[in-house]
């Protein structure tokens, strides 16, 4: 198989415009004759379903939640980037493009990233028109802030609820199309299989979570926008129902999975408090604009923070990275926190935390300004930890937050399986080995509002698509396949809890495939995962039946998929014997402990082909070419 990214010819700034002109169009009168399935209603899914509905396609939109408005995009706090240069501080499309390629540590596809930067400005305009209440200056114009590692202020925000407000904008547009009957909405449905007919994605099988019925839907094209796989680590900042199932099952049907080891660890999360913990809570890294990160200079210093004098504190980010200070990219901030705690200088009861201190900012700006900027985050922190961050420094620790890897897609956001399109966090394309802050919302909405409406038209207009109905053998086979897995889960009747096994998987992943990975740790994980998978299938207890709402059964299915997927993630991490972005191999670092890339051997996208559970997947490489941004060693000194 050769991977063709289908990047259009021409200078980078003209590729997308030229491509838009060259793509085929679907006649307006014919659009309603095409049915498109969109799985997922987050920023990418809802914006795609709404836009395709607006164009007149017949859209079927699915989500596992009770309402499309609850997708996990809603939890994004900090903001959305756009190269508007409203602040006159030197931003441009090219700079956003440059920063994103560099931030991704030269493991993303230049042409995709450039297009993303171009479209960023349109996203803001559209969201403003929808009535998204972005923060404003006193003069009434849009306000911006600088965010996680950027030296210009290009981040638009709506208090600490930017993801929520953008998602509600997309959701409202979606509900408008539901009312107009261009979109049919199917809530509480979980996609369990992709149906491939004559080599093309032509439908899905999903479980009606309320009745347990397996439902079949046929279409001319399928769009997956089902998010990331962070919960493979059990504890993450993702919602508890986020999962890899739809993407993994599409992978088992032939879609390549790219760079699964590229996971992002977010530096500013609330530390773990105990075994019972079900998820970790992220606090926007905008906090790092005013908070100063420190640990005691002495090992094992257990004094309360206010008793540690200034000269016994180590503001290690400011010390090591004088030009970026507390605003270094996420992977750098996270690894340094791990290093400080590994050295025994961690704080709090567990020693697995560092301080984020607002004392200076409160003195400089006053508590009212701090409250206005971060009020909801401070409130949330206090609720969870029972400590007042206006009085004592916050304790933070890194947690899994976002996954850059995902199903492989070409420039048109189509996977190697014709007709299967993948958007948002579920694909791999734009963030390389590390995503910059405030870029996830941008990518989800660029994919859904501005890219897929064009590229899917080109596919539909240029592809012979004979009519397929749900009686086709491929649908029957896929439904039977899903039913078998459900029956198998219900019939184990063991005595171990699903959560217990998931927690154990998470521990393997965090300890051995987490923030710092070594050949030894990865090999250990690759031994442990299949063992745990085997144990799961012999000892798991999945109570209840399949004919009604059964959350244990839903959860068990997702954990079963994670137990397969985790192996691929570890394998990808093992094969990539270089450090890049969020993927840190201890064997590959500079003398001062920074990630050291190996461009001669690893400047490619690793796209894996499924060959069977527990069998070595086949590696396909998409070589990356950097014509605009010359790869350099990242340095934030």
């Amino acid at each position: 198989m050769t991977l063709d990214a289908k990047v259009p010819a021409g200078p980078i700034a003209q590729k997308w415009d030229r491509h838009k002109f060259e793509m085929k169009l679907v006649n307006p009168a014919n659009k309603r004759k095409f049915t498109i399935i969109v799985a997922g209603t987050g920023l990418a899914g809802a914006s795609a379903a709404a836009s395709l509905g607006e164009l007149g396609y017949n859209v079927l939109n699915f989500c596992i939640q009770d309402s499309p408005r609850r997708a996990h995009s809603i939890a994004a706090q900090g903001g959305i980037n756009a190269a508007k240069n409203y602040q006159n501080d030197g931003d441009s499309v090219y700079r956003l493009f440059y920063d994103t390629v560099k931030g991704g540590d030269y493991r993303s596809r230049e042409a995709n990233v450039y297009r993303l930067a171009q479209l960023s400005v349109n996203i803001i305009d559209h969201c403003v028109a929808q009535g998204v209440p972005f923060a404003r200056e006193y003069g009434g114009l849009l306000d911006n802030r600088s965010f996680g590692g950027a030296q210009v202020s290009r981040t638009f925000y709506a208090r600490g609820q930017t993801g929520q407000q953008l998602l509600l904008g997309a959701y409202q547009s979606l509900m408008r199309q539901v009312r107009r009957k261009t979109v049919r909405l199917f809530a509480r449905r979980e996609m369990l299989d992709l149906v491939v007919v004559d080599g093309k994605a032509r439908g899905i099988v999903c479980r009606n979570l309320m009745t347990g019925a397996l439902e079949r839907y046929a279409a001319d094209a399928v769009v997956l926008a089902t998010g990331g796989y962070g919960t493979v680590y059990y504890l993450s900042t993702n919602a508890v129902n986020s999962n890899v199932t739809a993407a993994w099952r599409a992978h088992k049907r032939g879609a390549l999975f790219a760079n699964p080891s590229f996971t992002q660890i977010h530096p500013t999360c609330i530390p773990v408090s105990g075994e019972h913990q079900s998820k970790l809570t992220l606090m926007s890294e905008s906090l790092r604009n005013d908070g100063r990160v420190w640990v005691p200079k002495k090992k094992g210093d257990k004094r309360p923070p206010e008793q540690i004098p200034e000269d016994e504190r180590d503001y290690y980010l400011e010390r090591k990275y004088p030009s970026f200070g507390n605003l270094v990219p996420r992977d750098v901030a996270s690894r340094n926190a791990k290093q400080a705690t590994d050295e025994g200088r961690g704080v709090g009861e567990s020693g697995l935390a560092v301080y984020l201190d607002f004392k200076d900012a409160i003195q400089r700006l006053g508590p009212e300004v701090i409250k206005q900027k971060y009020g909801n985050l401070f409130h949330m922190y206090q609720k969870i930890t029972d400590e007042n961050p206006y009085k004592v420094p916050m304790r933070i620790y890194p947690a899994i937050h976002y996954t850059m890897g995902g199903l492989w897609v070409d420039y048109n956001l189509m996977s190697n399986l014709p007709g299967l399109h993948v958007l948002g966090e579920a694909n791999f394309s734009d963030h390389g080995a590390n995503r910059l802050g405030a870029s996830a919302l941008m990518q989800g909405l660029a994919d859904g509002y501005f890219i897929i409406p064009y590229t899917i038209g080109d596919y539909l207009a240029g592809t012979p698509l004979p009519k397929v109905t749900i009686d086709h053998d491929a649908f029957k086979e896929a439904a039977d396949n899903s039913q078998r897995q459900i029956n198998r889960l219900l019939s184990v009747k063991g005595n171990r809890g699903i959560r217990e096994i998931h927690r154990e998987l998470g521990r393997i992943m965090w300890d051995d495939v987490g923030m710092a990975r070594t050949e030894t740790s990865l090999r250990r994980a690759l031994e442990a995962i299949p063992k745990l998978r085997d144990e799961f299938w012999h000892t798991v207890s999945v109570p209840g039946t399949n004919d009604n709402l059964n959350q244990s059964l839903e959860y068990a299915g997702r954990v079963a998929d994670y137990l397969e997927f985790a192996e691929l993630l570890a394998l990808d991490a093992l094969h990539r014997r270089e450090s890049c972005g969020g993927h840190f191999r201890e064997e590959s670092q500079t003398p001062d402990g920074e990630a050291l890339r190996d461009d001669d051997h690893f400047m490619y996208v690793a796209a894996w082909e499924f060959t069977g559970v527990g069998r070595q997947p086949e590696l396909h490489k998409e070589a990356l070419h950097f014509e605009e941004v010359h790869p350099t060693q990242r340095s934030y000194k």
Partner: protein, 249 residues
């Protein structure tokens, strides 16, 4: 801590439900309320018993999925808090805690503590949006909005659509939910074109769904996890009267 739980169990929409007693042992004060239920469920699952069904997703108070009535109060005793952000330090060893689903005619029970809130989506579908298609928007800064106005709109837009307001209201009214969206869009210039039709259509849809009317008790405001004030309802009523006087049906 050791707690006595009385939890609503109902096998399906058509079956009768009842309160069932459970004991939760080894509860840590740092647990969230839902993590406490996770632990109870883990025990049930290990024994092969049907887990207690309840909805939750983000577990950080923003998605609006969790929906439990704790000791008679939607989202429990803490103000401005979803039940996923309620912590067990709020309770004492030996407490008895009753847990029930949202109760409203428009929210039929799916199972145990899970209800169907799709009626709220249909209210939004009736008009809770600005009708703009992708593609034609002018530059964002061509629509200046005073800071105070956008802040007020944001106060209303912060609604997470959980439905606690409905659950707390003796009339099972969705007025706070609805009015938050109406106020958000009525305050902003973008919402002006459809202002009158929006309020009329959304209220008509709420009536059709079986939500009740408002009798100004303020229970909704008291339980709202985002502390959205009841003044939104007053604004909605004014919008509705203006629309009626303008002859919008």
């Amino acid at each position: 801590m050791r707690l006595n739980l009385r939890i609503w169990r109902q096998p399906g929409p058509a079956s009768a439900g009842r309160l069932v007693d459970y004991v939760a042992g080894g509860v840590s004060p740092d647990m969230s309320f839902l993590e406490m239920l996770d632990v109870v469920n883990e025990g049930l699952v290990r024994k092969g018993e049907d887990a207690i069904a309840f909805d939750s997703d983000c577990r950080e108070g923003i998605c609006g999925t969790c929906s439990l009535v704790v000791n008679g109060i939607a989202h429990g005793p803490d103000r401005g808090t979803t039940v996923c952000q309620l912590h067990m330090r709020r309770f004492k060893d030996g407490d008895t805690i009753t847990v029930e689903p949202w109760r409203a005619r428009a929210f039929p029970v799916v199972k145990d503590l899970v209800v169907d809130r799709s009626a709220l989506d249909r209210i939004i579908a009736a008009g809770g949006y600005v009708s703009v298609n992708v593609g034609g928007a002018p530059d964002g800064n061509t629509i200046p909005i005073p800071k105070a106005v956008v802040e007020a709109a944001m106060d209303s837009a912060a609604c997470i659509g959980c439905g606690a307001c409905v659950a707390a209201c003796k009339n099972a009214s969705a007025h706070l939910f609805m009015s938050a969206k109406i106020a958000h869009l009525a305050l902003l210039p973008q919402g002006q074109q459809e202002r009158r039709n929006r309020v009329t259509a959304m209220i008509a849809q709420a009536d059709e769904e079986g939500f009740g009317s408002c009798s100004n008790e303020g229970e909704c405001e008291a339980v709202c996890p985002k502390e959205i004030p009841i003044s939104n309802i007053a604004r909605m009523t004014r919008e509705y009267i203006k629309a009626s006087l303008a002859g919008v049906k």
